[in-house]
Amino acid sequence: MADGDHLLSLRGVCKSFGGIQAVHSISFDVDAGESVGLVGPNGAGKTTLFNCVCGQLRPEEGDVVFDGTLLNGMPTYKRARLGIGRTYQKVEVFTDMSVRDHLMVAERARRGEGRLWRDLCNMSNPTADEKERVDATLELVGITQLADISVNALGLGNCRLVELARALAAEPKILLADEPSSGLDLRETEELAAVLRTVQRERGTAVLLVEHDLSMVAQVVDRAVVMDVGAMLAAGTFDEVMANPEVRNAYLGQVDAV
């Protein structure tokens, strides 16, 4: 089949750490503008899979194809420029930097800018155009009033929103969000779900969402993929997947017990 049909295709991706098969032969596709949930219990290998897609880890086997380009062996920054954005489960904010600067880094990086001579000639001030786009993204995520505050002063929930805004500022074709709602309260989670839906509908960004909060996943995604101990358990629409007895056993059984 032609990979051009899909935005992101995983073909038999495997990754192990020593003896642990963290990701075992995972294959699925995400289409442009689609929203897919990636769910599974703790240690299922979701974050590891994200790392394989973004290039922080190199899978031992299998191919990752994005937008018609085979990504194997490509460094993280090049993948990002192709249009893969992500947020991190363990927040990775830039200490000591203001929220607006976080977005400026993304804004410039997307176009591969950052030449020293431009800085030395004082040609790197933010343009009106850039400022406008950054403000729009801040507005979208709802953190405009935090723009000039250093992230050091922010709590976990706000840091997650900053990460989301930063990823969106790079205007990715696909957004990989790793448990964006952990650390947020109920109201904030609902707002976050709304933001993700807006991003998908208005900007046409595909979303691959890892999330333990199933009600939020249900709100956001069109399809879901279920992983358990590295392997793919099921895939289909959210309701289909949740009706699958195997999935109930591996995942929901655990949730019921809690």
Partner: protein, 668 residues
């Protein structure tokens, strides 16, 4: 064959002392996460006191050994742990490295301050039954005397005892467990801090012992001899991946023996003997850094409990009353204008020199602001880069009659090129790996290019003449002309640094300090950013180096060797490595302090040594005040001043920030 063994046996005593220090490095790194650069300095300190006691106080070797090793070693180790490293156990690699570098710089400078300058000639051995002057037997044609015997036998005994301690005692088991996770050990009800303290005590004792065993193999010795000890130990520890004690010890002995074997076979007049042989330890170190992939992951935390550390407390949003800002800025300009006018009018020549030295040093220090302050990496070869710039310009002027300012640009370009090569070689390294690589580069330059008379004009250096500046010696070149020249260049460099900091590269580097993963994940190529800032830093150092040498009227290799590189880092870390004012305050502060102390204090104490000691003390606070202790005090005092006079205004600013944080997300 007999000849081979003869050469090899001569190397054994050296190899044994190297092995002791290599084992110390691995042991403390494993147990505490601190790579203690200062073990070589501790070894030197013990040897210094040991020799001082035997040579000048007529103590017996054994008595001196009890004081300088048995008492002093563990005491110093315990003090390091209790007063310093325990408090920074969970801080980052840079903070730990800065502290141990400050000790490396501070300890050897402290000794002459306390004891006065001494000529040291060690002849005593620590054990009464080994006489240094008696040849006990000959082995493969080599006479083996008491010094050799005691070095080898004491090392073997100590290493065997250490093995028993680690393998067969409960304490050893805990120490090995602490390697995995200090906190895990504490959860098991073991006193983790106690285990770490023992590691410090044991390794400091061994370092002291190594120092005292090492000294008599030289006879007359200086601090420089201990650089070799340190570097061989570091190289051996690197080949052991800072993990395996036996490999570290074995590698150290191997390097020691290989050195004497090569020395034996190679003709002393050959190029190889003069250049490659002294660089052997650095070659081993660079080899380990380049070819052992595990050395790239040194800083990755292996502590399974690292993630349970509470996140750092949120820092109160920096607020400052606008009126206060205006006042500070105005005051600053008044001081600056006053300084310029004074420099050109009433300040006497002796003090013009001091300030000119300070200004030119500031330029070199700004190159550290770029690398350490902005890229967050520690480079230990900035003086070398400055030297490359200065020597290039001086050589071009001597041989081609090139104008010094043009030559300076060529020199800066060359220094930038050297920096880029270094950055390329260490693309995969950061933190400790990068620091070691740059240190190796600095020492390699010292042993090769800077040791070549045709390049550096020998130990006394090349005299730099003002006439090389061009037109009638730059209008009667004197202190005032030098002041204007250095001030002009300093201002240009300050502007460049500020532009880079607020530009794209500066922002990317700041982001990389926070999270390199996330920065790369946005599409920034981290290696490229780093290469660019290394190049700029090299160029700035090169220009600063030339100007400083011009002020000194001589470029000498001792002005720009590895020791100076370390001092430079210590200086700027004390004031502030993140701001341009920090570099300027460090440069001027260093020379002013030195001048004041040399004038005020009796010559015996040595004003320059004391200045270095003072700054080293300042650098020890880096972990607590990464913004620089001077910067910290400055902020504290302006805050207090602000609270006193502009309380309302500041409060309003603060409330505005707090309100923004508390209402965030409400209108998402």
């Amino acid at each position: 064959m007999e000849q081979f063994f003869g050469f090899a046996f001569t190397g054994l005593p050296y190899g044994c002392t190297y092995a002791l220090v290599a084992v110390c490095l691995v042991l403390t790194y494993q147990a505490t996460g601190v790579f203690n650069f200062a073990f070589g300095a501790q070894a030197f300190a013990s040897a210094f006191i040991f020799t001082w006691l035997t040579q000048y106080k007529n103590w017996s070797g054994f008595e001196a050994f009890l004081v300088s090793v048995v008492a002093m070693g563990p005491l110093v180790g315990y003090a390091f742990d209790r007063l310093l490293f325990r408090h920074i156990a969970n801080s980052n690699t840079t903070a730990k490295m800065v502290c141990s570098l400050a000790l490396l710089v501070g300890i050897p400078s402290l000794l002459p301050v306390i004891f006065g300058p001494q000529n040291l000639d060690a002849t005593a051995t620590i054990l009464p039954f080994f006489n240094p002057n008696v040849v006990y037997f000959t082995l493969a044609g080599q006479p083996i005397n008491g010094i050799d015997l005691s070095a080898v036998s004491v090392t073997v005994v100590v290493l065997v005892l250490l093995t028993i301690l680690l393998r067969y005692t409960a304490l050893g088991l805990q120490m090995r467990a602490a390697v995995e996770s200090r906190r895990l050990v504490q959860l098991d009800g073991v006193d983790g801090n106690g285990v770490v303290a023992v590691a410090w005590i044991v390794s400091s004792f061994m370092a002291s012992l190594a120092g005292v065993l090492f000294a008599p193999t030289f006879g007359a010795f200086t601090q420089d001899d201990y650089v070799t000890l340190t570097v061989v130990a570091i190289a051996a520890a690197a080949w052991a991946l800072l993990r395996s004690l036996p490999i570290a010890a074995g590698m150290a002995v191997f390097i020691g023996v290989l050195t004497t074997v090569l020395q034996g076979y190679i003709s002393p007049s050959s190029f190889f003997y003069a250049t490659i042989l002294p660089s052997l330890p650095f070659i081993f170190l660079v080899g380990a850094l380049l070819f052992l992939p595990k050395m790239r992951e040194l800083d990755a935390s292996r502590d399974p409990l690292a993630t349970i550390d509470p996140p750092p407390p949120p820092i109160a949003a920096a607020s400052r009353a606008p009126t206060m800002n205006r006042i500070i800025r105005t005051l600053w300009w008044i001081v600056f204008a006053g300084f310029c006018v004074s420099m050109l009018t009433w300040i006497p020549d002796s003090w013009t020199t001091v300030f000119n030295n300070g200004l030119t040093y500031s330029i070199v220090l700004l190159s550290i602001t770029l690398i350490t302050g902005m890229a967050g990496q520690l480079s230990l070869c900035q003086a070398t880069l400055a030297g490359v710039g200065a020597f290039t310009a001086a050589q071009l002027a001597t041989h081609l009659g090139l104008n010094l300012l043009v030559g300076g640009l060529v020199g800066a370009a060359l220094a930038a090129a050297v920096a880029v090569v270094l950055a390329l070689l260490s693309l995969r390294l950061k933190g400790l790996g990068l620091a070691l690589m740059t240190l190796a580069a600095a020492l390699l330059f010292d042993a090769t290019f800077f040791n070549e008379t045709s390049i550096t004009g020998g130990p006394q250096g090349i005299s730099v003449q003002a006439k090389w500046l061009g037109t009638s010696a730059f209008f009667n070149f004197n202190g005032h002309a030098m002041f204007l020249l250095s001030l002009g260049v300093l201002i240009v460099v300050v502007f460049l640094v500020l532009l880079v900091r607020k530009g794209t590269v500066g922002r990317n580097l700041a982001a990389m300090r926070g999270s390199e993963t996330a920065t790369a994940g946005l599409g920034v190529n981290p290696s490229w950013q780093r290469i660019m800032v290394f190049a700029l830093s090299g160029a700035v150092a090169g220009i600063g180096g030339l100007l400083h040498s011009l002020e000194q009227q001589v470029v000498s290799p001792t002005d720009w060797n590895a020791d100076i590189s370390l001092v430079l880092v210590v200086l700027v870390v004390t004031t502030s490595v993140t701001t341009v004012e920090g570099a300027i305050q460090a440069g001027i502060g260093f020379f002013v302090t030195e001048q004041v102390l040399t004038t005020v204090l009796p010559a015996r104490i040595g004003g320059s040594s004391l200045t270095v000691v003072l700054f080293a003390f300042g650098a020890l606070t880096y972990a607590a005040h990464p913004e620089g202790v001077l910067e910290y005090q400055k902020r504290r005092h302006t805050m207090r001043f602000e609270r006193l006079f502009f309380a309302k205004e500041a409060e309003a600013e603060e409330r505005k920030a707090a309100r923004a944080i508390s209402t965030s997300g409400a209108n998402g």
